[in-house]
């Protein structure tokens, strides 16, 4: 297996991009990544996208996006694993380079979510849950995570305020990210008084509907040294795992098993332990998700995710900074793009290019991207060399 | 000998008081409370309809019967609020209780008499020997136009009966029917609410047919009102069944047990059948019960039931009708009622 480096990343400003189509949004981010890497071509492409069919009525993204990026006839594949589509696209790009099949691979992600009304977006997102045994009965994603939150509060004594502190922290971080959709800072009181969506989760516990894309350029380490003068970020661990699609089928509603397993695989491959991680970008689609995920990854003890947040352990200046980019909460959550954008942030941090939110001396970073209520997870560990 | 081997009733938990409706239309609540003897009525939740109530009432009937649903030969649902104009309620019910596919299904409609006619046919199918058991349901989420007199009583509920030959808990001693063409209440195709002919619904309609059917069956079985422990008549309001009982020579204590309308409202096809379930909940072996339904258009089915010794074994096997009526009530305001009953015009 060849060692794989990330030599370029690109992400455009996220938000409600009324003037831009899906193909525009993706091509912008892809060109930024290509420019960042300084390459004159790519050999292959993976694009994570959850539901372009339902959001914009367009499938067959492999052809469309390779065409508009001007890279026909390269091989291309659209990857779908709900909200983990981006992370999985990166993993497949990693495997393709590591295997020696291709040299320069673009791994990207895109979602154009605002061309449908809220109802349409709710429906499209709900397809990540079990249509017949969850969605049929009237559940929504806020509802699924709300049930995880309720169970976590009941089992571990996690408080409503601790959930709010996840949002406060991530919006604080996002306020230093010029590409974030909602860079506004929020207070615990703002969160606790925001409109109830699915008890106990309120609107400010939820990640937004976003248009956006992100891309990364991968190549073998040997080649990377020839192409770029920037600090080289190496992918040292990659893990992917699945769990039951239905939340209710799991033994423990508070544990995200797919993240636990994907994390263990990535740590094993990387030869690292949770305490070696300098920062992590995790899938905070809802405030409770961040708490469950940092527990599943072993970054904090089980049941202590809320307390760790309250104590500032996950803040920018904390022991293990989580979501320095602002996370899905503040930066936005164009579902297919999220997993790749997480990698963009870690690469920027490891290169020392993260501006006001830079974690000093960061050497090892982790990304965790998950689909649905945790039915699939992808974890990557990167190290600057 | 044929008769009932299992019975059950179902009533949604929501109630609206007559005062709440009167407040909206600026009418005198007392004229309904005192004049028609109606206090409140049941209201289905948005997730309840004739089919769902029929299924729950039938689960209770099955518990009391103790039979294998696969042995039921017919499922007949009588209602004037079948959820589909075209597509049977009976097949959903039969599927839900596990009685398919060797079964005969039909939906009945005869204004408020649809439930009793299903009972009538089930008894005869069992008597003929063409099937071992037959299931009859009377259920309605009754419609009454906003502001119409019907709105104060149109309620929701279901009664379910399994008929058989053995292990009867009440024997059908006799049946008798009385019909004429009388346009007192109707609903035309594609109309949402029924129309009625006001006071014409009384003497020439309700009273004439119930009295005709009651007198006919009493003559046939050679019994008098005093021979009965209980009598139950169709209950469009609380006043009519008491009045018709009195005219026939029944005393108040014979009528009270089966009288549900003042606190439940008129459950149309479920009305007198549900009254019968409330009587069966309290009846003792050998009690005689007279039941006379009424359906506009118009006609009455009359039944003489004789309770058997098995009744005491089954009464506690499922919730009793008055327990369901009195427990876990949820009083709602007119706005909620209007929303639940689809009376608010919404965007397409």
């Amino acid at each position: 297996m060849r060692e794989v480096a990330i030599i370029g990343v690109g992400m455009n400003k996220w938000g409600e991009l009324w003037n831009k189509s899906l193909r525009d949004v993706f091509t912008e981010a892809a060109l930024l990544a290509i420019d960042d890497a300084g390459v004159d071509h790519i050999d292959s492409m993976y694009v994570g996208c959850m539901s372009s069919g339902l959001f914009v009525g367009q499938e067959h993204l492999s052809s469309l996006l390779a065409d508009y990026l001007g890279t026909n006839p390269i091989p291309a594949a659209r990857i779908e694993s709900a909200c983990a589509s981006g992370g999985l696209a990166l993993r497949l790009g990693f495997i393709e380079v590591a295997s020696g099949t291709s040299d320069i691979v673009l791994a990207g992600g895109v979602e154009k979510m605002t061309d449908v009304a809220v109802d349409g977006a709710t429906f499209a997102l709900s397809t990540a849950a079990d249509q017949e045994y969850e969605v049929y009965h009237g559940i929504t994603f806020p509802g699924l995570y709300a049930m995880m939150a309720r169970a976590h509060m009941h089992k571990y004594g996690t408080t409503r305020e601790q959930l709010a502190q996840v949002a406060v922290k991530n919006h604080h971080n996002g306020s230093m990210n010029p590409l974030a959709q909602f860079p506004q800072k929020v207070t615990v009181e703002n969160v606790m008084k925001s409109v109830m969506i699915a008890d106990p989760l309120r609107i400010l516990d939820c990640s937004p509907i976003t248009d956006g894309a992100a891309a990364a350029i991968l190549c073998p380490m040997d080649l990377a040294k020839k192409i770029t003068k920037k600090p080289l970020v190496k992918i040292i661990g990659s893990g992917n795992a699945t769990d039951t699609i239905a939340l209710h089928s799991r033994d423990d509603i508070t544990e995200i098993g797919s993240t636990k397993v994907a994390g263990e695989k990535a740590f094993k491959m990387a030869g690292k332990k949770p305490e070696n991680i300098d920062l992590a970008e995790v899938h905070d689609c809802f405030t409770i998700a961040e708490i469950c995920v940092i527990e599943a990854l072993g970054l904090v003890d089980k049941g202590k995710g809320g307390k760790a947040t309250e104590d500032g352990l996950t803040a920018l200046d904390g022991k293990i900074p989580i979501n320095t980019s602002g996370g899905l909460k503040s930066k936005g959550h164009p579902v297919g793009a999220t997993g790749v954008a997480q990698v963009c942030e870690v690469v920027k941090q490891l290169r020392g290019e993260a501006g006001d939110r830079q974690i000093k001396g960061a050497k090892v970073g982790l990304t965790q991207n998950m689909g649905g209520s945790g039915g699939s997870s992808v974890v990557h560990i990167m190290e600057v060399v | 000998m044929v008769g009932i081997i299992g019975y059950g009733a179902y009533i949604p938990r929501n109630r609206i008081k007559v005062e709440e409706i009167a407040k909206v239309w600026g009418t005198d609540a007392n004229s309904y409370r005192k004049g028609l003897f109606v206090e409140e009525k049941s209201v289905p939740s948005p997730d309840q309809d004739t089919i769902t109530m029929s299924v729950e009432a039938t689960h209770y009937a099955l518990k009391r019967s103790g039979i294998d649903p696969q042995k039921i030969g017919a499922v007949y649902v009588g209602s004037e609020s079948h959820p589909y104009a075209v597509k049977p309620s009976g097949t959903v019910l039969a599927e839900a209780i596990g009685a398919t596919p060797e079964i005969h299904c039909a939906d009945y409609e005869f204004a408020c008499k649809a439930g009793s006619e299903a009972m009538f046919v089930c008894l005869e199918l069992v008597r003929s020997g063409s099937m071992e058991y037959a299931l009859a349901v009377g259920a309605d989420t009754s419609q009454g136009a906003p502001g119409d007199a019907l709105e104060y009583t149109a309620a929701a509920g279901a009664a379910s009966f399994i008929m058989g030959k053995d292990n009867l808990l009440a024997e059908a001693v006799e049946t008798y029917s009385f019909m004429t063409d009388t346009p007192d209440f109707w609903r035309r195709e594609y109309q949402y609410y029924p129309r009625h002919a006001s006071r014409f619904t009384g003497e020439p309609a309700y009273f004439k047919h119930i009295i005709g059917a009651a007198k006919g069956i009493l003559k046939k079985v050679k019994l008098e009102p005093k021979d009965f422990k209980y009598a139950v008549f169709h209950q469009p309001n609380g006043k009519f069944p008491l009045k018709v009982g009195k005219l026939l020579g029944f005393k108040r204590e014979q009528l009270d047990t089966g009288l549900l309308c003042p606190w439940m409202g008129n459950t149309y096809s479920g009305s007198s059948p549900m009254g019968l379930t409330a009587i069966l909940d309290e009846a003792k072996p050998d009690d005689l019960i007279l039941m006379v339904s009424y359906g506009s258009g118009a006609g009455s089915d009359a039944f003489v039931w004789k309770v058997t010794s098995r009744i005491t074994e089954v009464q506690d096997k499922a919730p009793k009708t008055k327990e369901i009526l009195n427990n876990n009530k949820n009083y709602i305001e007119y706005g909620t009622y209007a929303k639940y009953r689809g009376k608010i015009r919404k965007a397409e």
Binding site: F123, H137, G138, M147, H154, I197 | S45, D47, I51
Partner: protein, 129 residues
């Protein structure tokens, strides 16, 4: 929902039919073709118990459009006696009085309408026992 998709699930939605693995006894709802525990492919049909307890819950205040008439409504993960967990609405409850661990039972309810002219979708809900 297209009719065939609704129709196919009727045994589960109306009667709670599940499959019990002949290899290890694990019960699956809905039924499966292969056991996730022992990999056996032999099953027998069993019906789930109609009583259980509440594991966790939420109150949906921003519902999918076909559930607007019922909003707000409670939903929960319910462990039925025998151990199988399902997700369902909790009907006929007081929304501020739900408690983890409370006893529930199954009732047959309308889940939603396919608009004014489409099919009516039925299934199970839980109500306080």
């Amino acid at each position: 929902m297209p009719s065939p998709r609704y129709w196919r699930e009727i045994p589960q939605r109306y009667r709670l039919e599940a499959s019990k693995c002949k290899g290890c006894g694990k019960v699956f709802f809905p039924p499966r073709l292969v056991c996730s525990s022992c990999k056996s492919r032999e099953f027998e049909m069993v019906k789930l118990e109609r009583e259980g307890k509440l594991i966790t819950y939420t109150i949906i205040r921003v519902p999918p459009s076909q559930f607007t008439d019922q909003s707000p409504y409670a939903m929960g993960v319910v462990e039925l006696n025998g151990g199988v967990k399902i997700l369902s609405q909790i009907a006929d409850c007081n929304l501020d009085k739900l408690e983890i661990g409370q006893k529930l039972r199954i009732e047959f309810r309308k889940i939603y309408n396919e608009g004014e002219a489409g099919i009516i979708c039925y299934g199970y809900k839980c109500v306080p026992a």
